[in-house]
Amino acid sequence: MNKIKIFQIATWTAVAVAAGILIGVKGMLPNGELQEHASSTGTARVGGPFELTSHTGEKFDNARLAGKPYLVFFGFTHCPDICPTTLYELTDLMDVLGPDADKLTPLFITVDPERDTQTVLSEYMTAFDERIVALRGELADIDKAVKAFSAYYNKVPTEGGGYTMDHTAGVILMDAKGGFFGTLDMHEPRETVLAKLRRLIASNA
């Protein structure tokens, strides 16, 4: 085998390895699946029918969201870190957006309706922007909503007989027509997050 041949084999091997890594990494990106839907089809699969009850006790379904962009965040109140941080951050963002924030509906859907009763949620939500709507329902209704947004949750037992919930971490952005627009990661710089929200609002102008 001459040197050129070895070089060629080495090059193609490197290309194959690099392609494999790229495919692997793409599949592992947070919410990679969600983003792919939007870019490849234009119309996303994310966003289907759901019917839940708000923290103020009102029936709340997807039809009610028509004509206005909205945000969806899955979480639970027994979550000390990511959930309250995201809700406080959304509160700050609504404040920074000023009157434009009225053009969005942020939703906080609990994946733990057993412990997150309407009473708990109605008290809990007083700490945040009053435009953020917390939603709950029977487990089957929650499952339907989770599926509607291609999200995920799982109940995980903990030592001592309790449990915690794994759940989709990002905030899902939906446009006024109920189409998937993107996601927010609260670890992104504030400016990036604000720019995405402003684009979402502008998409409905």
Binding site: M28, L29, P30, N31, G32, L34, T77, H78, C79, P80, D81, I82, P84, T85, L87, Y88, R115, T119, V120, E123, Y124, M125, T126, A127, F128, Y152, V156, T158, E159, T164, D166, H167, T168, A169, G170
Partner: protein, 163 residues
């Protein structure tokens, strides 16, 4: 008069205290700025963060956290894997290597105070006891503040935040 002055000083300290960096020490373990977030009403849990520095030559381990503020306290790690947030108890506590630093925020660790006695408001504080395998027990105060990194923000180099 003396009492009134003492009260006035205490009030000033309480008002100023939580927003300033504060430190505690037990043996060769330094506990940097324990802090917690305000909690929404009827929140069943609260979080706590701190920075542990081991100035000694032997590894030590944070094995337990106790507080009259909550029914229980556990040490947890949060991870986000493939877009899914997960929270797990840190098995066997937190090891601090000699000369090492464990920054709870940077490593996405937190102390979870379960069943807190009251709602936490901005600029308040509450006491807790950290129990180390070698350094023993140390009493600390958790300062309640809205934002992470309100003190010593320059000190985060050397910690990979990208996990």
């Amino acid at each position: 008069m003396l009492r009134r002055t003492a009260t006035a000083i205490a009030v000033i300290l309480m008002a100023v205290g939580p927003s300033m960096a504060h430190e505690f020490k037990a043996g060769s373990i330094e506990v940097g700025h324990p802090w917690s977030r305000p909690t929404p009403p009827s929140a069943p849990v609260a979080s706590g963060y701190l920075k542990l520095t081991n100035t000694g030559t032997e590894a030590d381990r944070l094995i337990q956290v106790e507080s009259s503020f909550s029914a229980r306290a556990e040490i947890h790690q949060s991870v986000v894997e493939e877009g899914v947030a997960k929270m797990r108890q840190a098995e066997g506590g937190i090891i601090i290597e000699p000369g090492g630093i464990v920054d709870f925020e940077a490593e996405r660790l937190h102390i979870m105070f379960i069943d807190p006695a009251r709602q936490l408001k901005d600029k308040e504080s509450f006491p807790a006891t950290l129990v180390f395998e070698k350094a023993g027990r140390v009493e600390v105060e958790f300062a309640v503040q809205r934002k992470a990194g309100e003190t010593a923000p320059e000190d985060h180099s050397g910690h990979g935040s990208g996990k």
